[in-house]
Amino acid sequence: MQVVAPAALVVAVGIASSFVSGANEIYFLDALVSVAIVVAIYVFIGNSGVLSFGQISFVAVGAFIAGVMTVPLDSKAGVLPQLFPVLRDHTIGNVPSLLLATATGGVFAFLVGLPLMRLSGLAAGIATLAVLEITHNLLREWTKIGPGATTLSLVPETTGPLQATIGALVVVAVAFAYQRSRLGRMLRATREDAAAARGVGVNVHAQRLWAFTLSGALAAFSGALLVHELGSITTEQVYLELTFVTLAMLVVGGVSSLWGAVLGALVVSGVNSFLTEAEQGVDVGLTLDLPSGTRLILLGSLMALVLILRPAGLTGGRELRLSPPNIGSATRRRLSPRGD
């Protein structure tokens, strides 16, 4: 049940996306790619309990390497003349670009995580934010590795309903397999009590590094899905705003469960899509026509309201179960992630 429910929801959105009209398809694709990004972030933050603002740097790296490597060869030298020759003179297909992005993200996250995973709490959050700033700065200014401050365009739009659904499912499945594995359980033990986990022989640094690397690889994969959905991208699209929105999706859903990550991503992007339509005037029994510009205000207020009323998120940070687990309520309270 714990993996079936999130997966079924993703498939349902995927099937729905192939039935709607072309203009609305984009909303469903956005939602599926958001699920992939948020679950990738969840793999690290949710399992380790360490805050990171840096996971979007791996989304950015994935998006740009997959984008740059799939721009058709005949136009590449014209639009991206300053690239390193190895990037400029080769072009690869859709699936290889997803794999290349995944590998690059994983390696990058491992190298960054090696020193940074010694930190925890706010220091970890700030250090990972510094990684995001450096990644953004280099991608934006260094024209040998990408388009710099201009838009990267001419990327083949291969993320349709099928690729978005399969991509999101792959990320959900990997996240589930990881959290059920020996490694995932050791990391979750460090989240509940780092000192006790150390006491039974868990290497906190190593476990966090594994999750950070896996999360980086999945985030870069999601970034590749994103660039193939949009067809063009700038460095500003994979920077602070995306960081805040995806973190908010995760927290709104409930940080410490896969179900929360998936639900949060779908609910927030659903509301966002609905409000975008409502700004143009939408018919829901009565005609709703919001003044333009109110979408962000309503979306932000809604997120703040959920967090104030339900700080543990919509799911309370629990996986979906058909019947409650057979343990006493006192034990359950003690085990619940909210208890300190």
Binding site: P115, L122, E133, L247
Partner: protein
């Protein structure tokens, strides 16, 4: 190192001090609220932004009235934020509190944009106070008036705050609440009063920062002070967020370092300034994770 420092000219050093002064004010504003609430207020920059808009919209008023309006609006918003958002979140995990303040920042920016684009242009110009941005010559060095003013204001504000915290009853209560709010309440400190006072002070500082930043950059947009807030938040944690004075020093240090590195980088490499500053941040965090200025304490058990 000496050779590098010799490459710096006097104006660069003065501007670096000026930047450090503004950042230390923002750091103290963020640190005051963190002390009593354990809440990192990401929306602090939006308080400054709202203050800047107030200055821009009242540009036709006398300068003094315009500044008073700025203080009134910012302090009112600061108190409203505490009542509507911070109070229901008391005692929640730091991540939830931080992400909620993201959402508030998001909303305030969206509101600013909505109000701002009624005249079909993004951004307003706070014309009335821009004249303080002119340069004067002090001891052979060209300095902008506002840079000197920023340094003086920062020193005065920090000194007043130090007196308040160490010489008055409410200051004592605030320090007690900052070190352990549970025990402080048992001993008769009223949480609401102390928190309200900290939020009020933090709002006053935000309004001061709004005036200084608006003079330096009279072009006000929805993202006004956003960049500065992020850098200051980083500086506060690098300095050591657990104590007000280490947080303030952290804010100063990151501003000062940014100014110096900007002067040291060759002109064609200044676009890489953020990378250089944040690489330094990572280095400092790795060497001193509990804060650059936090001496003599080590945390054996890490709590996330």
């Amino acid at each position: 190192m000496i050779g590098l420092l010799a490459a710096l000219d006097a104006p660069t050093v003065v501007e670096a001090f000026g930047l450090g002064a503004v950042y230390s004010l923002m750091a103290v504003g963020i640190g005051l609220v963190f002390g009593v609430l354990r809440l990192v207020n990401f929306a602090y920059g939006q308080l400054v932004m709202v203050g800047a808009y107030t200055l821009a919209f009242t540009a036709s008023w006398p300068v003094a009235a315009s500044i008073v309006a700025c203080y009134a609006v910012v302090v009112a918003l600061s108190l409203a934020m505490d009542r509507a958002v911070f109070r229901p979140l008391r005692g929640e995990s730091p991540a939830v509190m931080l992400v909620t303040t993201f959402a508030i920042a998001f909303v305030l920016q969206a509101v600013a944009l909505l109000i701002d684009i009624r005249d079909d242009t993004i951004g307003e110009i706070a014309s009335s106070i821009a004249s303080f941005n002119q340069a004067i010559t002090v001891a052979g060095v060209d300095v902008r008036k506002i840079t000197i003013a920023a340094m003086v204001i920062a020193v005065v504000v920090l000194a007043l705050l130090a007196v308040l915290l160490t010489r008055t009853t409410i200051g004592l209560h605030m320090r007690a609440a900052a070190s352990d709010i549970g025990t402080a309440r048992l001993l008769g400190v009223q949480a609401d009063r102390v928190i309200g006072f900290a939020v009020l002070l933090s709002g006053l500082v935000a309004a001061t920062v709004a005036v200084i930043l608006t003079v330096q950059n009279p072009f006000v947009g929805p993202e006004f002070a956003l960049r500065e807030t992020i850098v200051v938040l980083v500086g506060v944690v690098v300095g050591g967020i657990d104590r007000l004075w280490t947080a303030t020093l952290g804010g100063f240090a990151i501003g000062f370092a940014t100014g110096l590195i900007n002067g040291l980088l060759p002109t064609d490499k200044t676009v890489y300034l953020p990378s250089a500053v944040f690489a330094l941040v990572i280095l400092v965090l790795l060497l001193r994770p509990s804060g650059l200025f936090a001496w003599g304490r080590s945390t054996t058990v890490e709590r996330v």
